[in-house]
Amino acid sequence: MHTHFDCHNLLDSLSDYLDGEARQELCRAIETHMAECPNCRVVVDTLKKTIYLVHATAESPLPDDVRERLYKALELNEYLK
């Protein structure tokens, strides 16, 4: 553990922190640093939001015509619902 946790340390640990994989001690160091560093707070909050937006817009169904042609190419027509 770093005795002095700075912006670079935060950046290095960012994905683990946001993915819930950081140990408790590291989470505390990140949160203490964020309380003192407004820029890092903004980076963490906006990065969290960025990942959220990616997840929120990720799902998309297979277009019906693409699905039909796929089943035909695989000779699975009888399983088309």
Partner: protein, 201 residues
Amino acid sequence: MSENASLSISLPALQAGDRAEFARLVEVYSAQIYRLALKILGNTQDAEDVLQTTFLKALQSLPAFEGRSSLSTWLYRIAVNEALMLIRKRRPEVQVFAGDGGDDEDEDYLPVQFVDWTTIPEEAMLSSEAVTYLDQAIQRLPPKLRLVFLLRDVEGLSIRETSETLGLTETAVKTRLLRARLFLREQLSGYYQERLLEENH
């Protein structure tokens, strides 16, 4: 991902040539494979070609599949390889996407925008214009970062599954994932900063 449906697919039935089971495999994974191919290639016709080839190749290779990775990781690997092959065929000048070497410097991805745009209402962030911008920003990701980002953050694979799919070390996956996320954050910060400025005038 429909976790329950994928868990209940029977590998022995698939390998015994059970057509109904293969149809279930296609049903469970086709939307994800198409979405991934579309985001790698940015073209619906190419994405459809990759989708069909992936399942045709899967059908041929099933008897030899040893089950050392999950079915989804295996399918993603076939799809990524097919997409890369298509790119190499159509645009031979494009450098190879995967591989461990040649990463840029960390400094290229350090945050430079510190505007807090998280207060913008969610419906504005999910407007069709905003979603289109996000899609375009993903397309602007450097290709080797984009593959890692798509598998991990769009398709929800774990770090280990992403590294297995792309043949990268877990360390390389983590480095590229962070850079991709930081790159997109910068892009969205620029976009939303303008929206905030418009609001205040």
